[in-house]
Amino acid sequence: MPALDFRLGIDVGGTNTDAVILDRSDQVLAKAKVPTTPDVTSGIVAALDAVIGTSGVDVSRITHAMLGTTHATNAVLERRRLHRVAVIRIGAPATLGVRPMFEWPADLTAVVSAGATVVAGGIEFDGRDLSPFDGDAVARFLGSVAGRCDGVAIASVFAPVSPRHELLAAEIVKRELGQLHISLSHEIGSVGLLERENATILNAALAGVAGDVARALGQALAAHNLSPVTFFAQNDGTLMALDHALRYPVLTIGSGPANSIRGAAFLTGRSDALVADVGGTSTDVGVLVNGFPRESSQGVEIGGIRTNFRMPDLVTIALGGGTVLSGGVGAVRLGPESVGYRLRDEALVFGGSTPTLTDSAVATGRARLGDPSLAQPALRLLEAASRAADLALADAIDRVKTAKGDLALIAVGGGSILIPDELAGVSEVIRPHHFDAANAIGAAIASVSGQVDRIFHFGPGGRKAALDEASQEAKDHAVAAGADPDTVQIVELEEIPLAYLTSPAVRIRAKAAGALGGLYASAEAQAGIHASQH
């Protein structure tokens, strides 16, 4: 395992794929931006080629590669390359009124489901057994799906209170079916059986995708005679070692915005601020809290499926550098169409014929790009569009806040030239150097996290013991994900009392993060991936 030297960060966005190379003191040595491709992988390869080919950096010193990618999201949206999953819910005789995957779109179910069952067992909110766990039923079901499934998803009622029935079921799967992917709901989501079960099934369905991406990246790197240790960016803005990513691929969904927010923190040295990431097509406004993206407390839909695993809390609006302007001066319409990566062919200031928000930024003096005189004939439209965009942005900023008061806004992303210096609700606009590569830089920041989100009942040690237990679990998870044990510390600890429950039960969310280290834990998986390249 090489000592940490140069790091390669790659982040796949909706419009562009960015790559950076950082040195040990986090200085940006090289950066590149290429269009994102429909298959994603060839865009990653192009970004890699660009950043390596143009930098003049001694790339042989690249020891680590960090990838933030949309492969998992795209796989769900396109129903491609998904594994077939056998679903085991533990909760009968409760829960039979809504069967597993009941709400799923039929085409996705057809691709993913290898069959589903609901067996007796499960946990009560206070930790008792809902009913005795029926291991024989699990074994019988597995017999019926053997050879027809690539992985198994297991979700028990109130697994966030105790995972014991899920763990028993997992043992039976190992015994009956041998080595295959197993996703356990208590490791994926929080309270809310159907949403957690959905996220768990998606995780199992995506198990192949992470491996494919790792192989593709490994091959691209090998073409440059590189074999760095590979990490994946996850949706809390930290990294996971490859073996972790192979087990929890669903956690890569939403990593893009999280990378940008982390990159914004890194580039400005701020730990608490608003972050606006303006791309070619859309703008994500998020919140940086204690150095990490604030997480959403609501469920998120992925490809039409409701889930409840953690995701960055964002307000997204369809405004970006390539947003097409239409309508008249009095009733200007912003997008939602975008010229995307064709900006340099189609925008007015580049000699094209499509008025875009980038033209507005040039016309209003916010940016110097192309030939400003080409924007003059449409000046009034461009100014009106600029005012409308500022209002929409201020509105998005207001929505993402959780309290009154002005906050600093860090403007990142290639389209952030659109953002004015003064905005309602914003105390100052900070524009860091390398703002246009904040996402890839965020991916390359060597921080690894672990998290716990489950229900605790206060035992003899009371509240403190429960908080200590949650903190220790989070730290253990961080180390398991590849963090250096010596640097791991708790960065977030939240207690959420449960409504309508009269016994003292509390949901505790604890998150620990530390510097990249302890890489040896993942060496085996790494070797496996590289060995299968040839």
């Binding site: 909760g91 009968a92 005789p93 409760a94 829960t95 039979l96 009124g97 809504v98 069967r99 009941f102 709400e103 499960g122 009560e124 909110f125 206070d126 008792r128 809902l130 009913s131 009622v157 109130f158 309270v191 809310g192 059986l193 159907l194 609501q298 207001d398 929505r399 993402v400 806040k401 959780t402 309290a403 009154k404 009392p497 449960l498 409504a499 309508y500 429950l501 009269t502 016994s503």
Partner: protein, 361 residues
């Protein structure tokens, strides 16, 4: 009039139940999923008017007692209602003719129709509240003097407890304790009555139809769903604005707190304060009451027109706060004693929302 409840109607009903939940009562979404699966498996449930039933027909009011948090994990199996019915019939020697939700607001509005459909029984177009309330005796049957006995509770395992309580308040106390032992929630029936009693004021009639109309108005109104909602409910928009402050705490299992909404557009400069105890209870402006329990106060997302439960209200949301007159039975002296402002610890007398807002429209 009888009608069969198909999928579009069920979806509208769920939206309407959320509005009538006045911020509490639990998310009707799982209730909707239970109903949709039952629809697929056994066909549509029949919705009947009270006068479609013989006058001596027995009606079983029912619903879940306990924590909605439990209901999102330990989802019902759909057969709980059949267990309640079986024991109720054994205890009374009479035959249940139809089911009725004790509470139309929130998740309890939908569950009885799933239970009914799975037994091949109809559900009546009525409920015991016309909204959501936290306590078992806060029902029209109690106001009409119906005996709460026998109360029956069951869980998904088939455990059954029969209650003989000396009062509605004791029924509440005993069932609440049993719910904890069942694992935080249980299915319950109490206050059984005849169709004649229900027609004579012991039930709030037409509430399914109202909830469906609300949902349909929200689904189909072009441009301004909230105006359509106001039109079908006789409601009054109190404020269009933005949530600027949320203060919420959980004590003894109840969410209490307040929400401040700052006016936007025509309401710019106004400040509305909502007092919350699970449900939205009181709307105040500059110390003046604009609306209070038992009238309904619902916070809607200004864009989607979806009702926002109290636990999901947060800073920055664009909301429309509307008030709707409660069922007349709640405006009686006994009704106000059970569910007026003073029943929730507020030190002021109830005035109907139409009078408070000066809108005679």
């Amino acid at each position: 009039m009888k009608r069969l409840l198909g999928e579009p109607v069920l979806r509208s009903l769920a939206r309407g139940c959320a509005v009538l939940g006045t911020g509490g009562g639990g998310d009707p979404r799982i209730g909707l999923l239970l109903a949709l699966q039952a629809l697929e498996e056994v066909g549509p449930t029949e919705l009947v008017d009270l006068d479609d039933l013989p006058r001596d027909a027995l009606i079983m009011p029912c619903g879940m007692v306990g924590a909605p948090t439990v209901h999102i994990e330990k989802i019902e199996n759909g057969g709980e209602g059949a267990v309640l019915r079986e024991h109720l019939e054994r205890l009374t020697g009479r035959t249940v003719a139809a089911l009725m939700p004790a509470e139309i607001g929130g998740s309890n509005g939908l569950l009885p129709l799933t239970w009914a459909g799975r037994m091949g029984l109809p559900v009546v177009d009525a409920d015991g509240m016309g909204r959501a309330f936290p306590l078992i005796p806060q029902v029209s049957m109690h106001l009409a003097g119906i005996d709460p006995n026998p109360g029956v509770m069951t869980d998904e395992r088939g455990n059954v407890v029969v209650f003989r309580a000396i009062s509605g308040a004791w029924m509440e106390r005993l069932e609440r304790s049993a719910a904890v032992e069942f694992g935080g929630a249980g299915a319950a029936t109490e206050y059984i009555m005849t169709a004649a009693q229900a027609q004579d004021g012991a039930a709030v009639q037409g509430t399914f139809t109202l909830a469906i109309k609300i949902g349909e108005a929200l689904n189909t109104a072009v441009g301004d769903p909230i105006a359509a909602l106001v039109a079908v409910t006789g409601g009054l928009p109190l404020m269009i604005g933005k949530v600027t402050d949320v203060e919420r705490r959980t004590t003894k299992g109840f969410v209490r707190g307040s929400v401040v909404v700052e006016g936007l557009g025509d309401d710019a400069g106004r400040l509305l304060r909502l007092e919350i105890q699970n449900e939205n209870l009181v709307a105040l402006e500059q110390g003046r009451v604009l609306a209070s329990v038992p009238d309904l106060i619902t916070v809607l997302d200004s864009e989607t027109a979806d009702a926002i439960p109290t636990e999901r209200v947060r800073y920055g949301q664009r909301v429309t706060v509307i008030a709707m007159p409660c069922a007349p039975i709640w405006r009686s002296a006994f009704g106000l004693e059970m569910a007026g402002p003073r029943a929730f610890g507020y030190d002021f007398d109830y005035v109907p929302v139409e009078e408070l807002t000066g809108a005679s429209a």
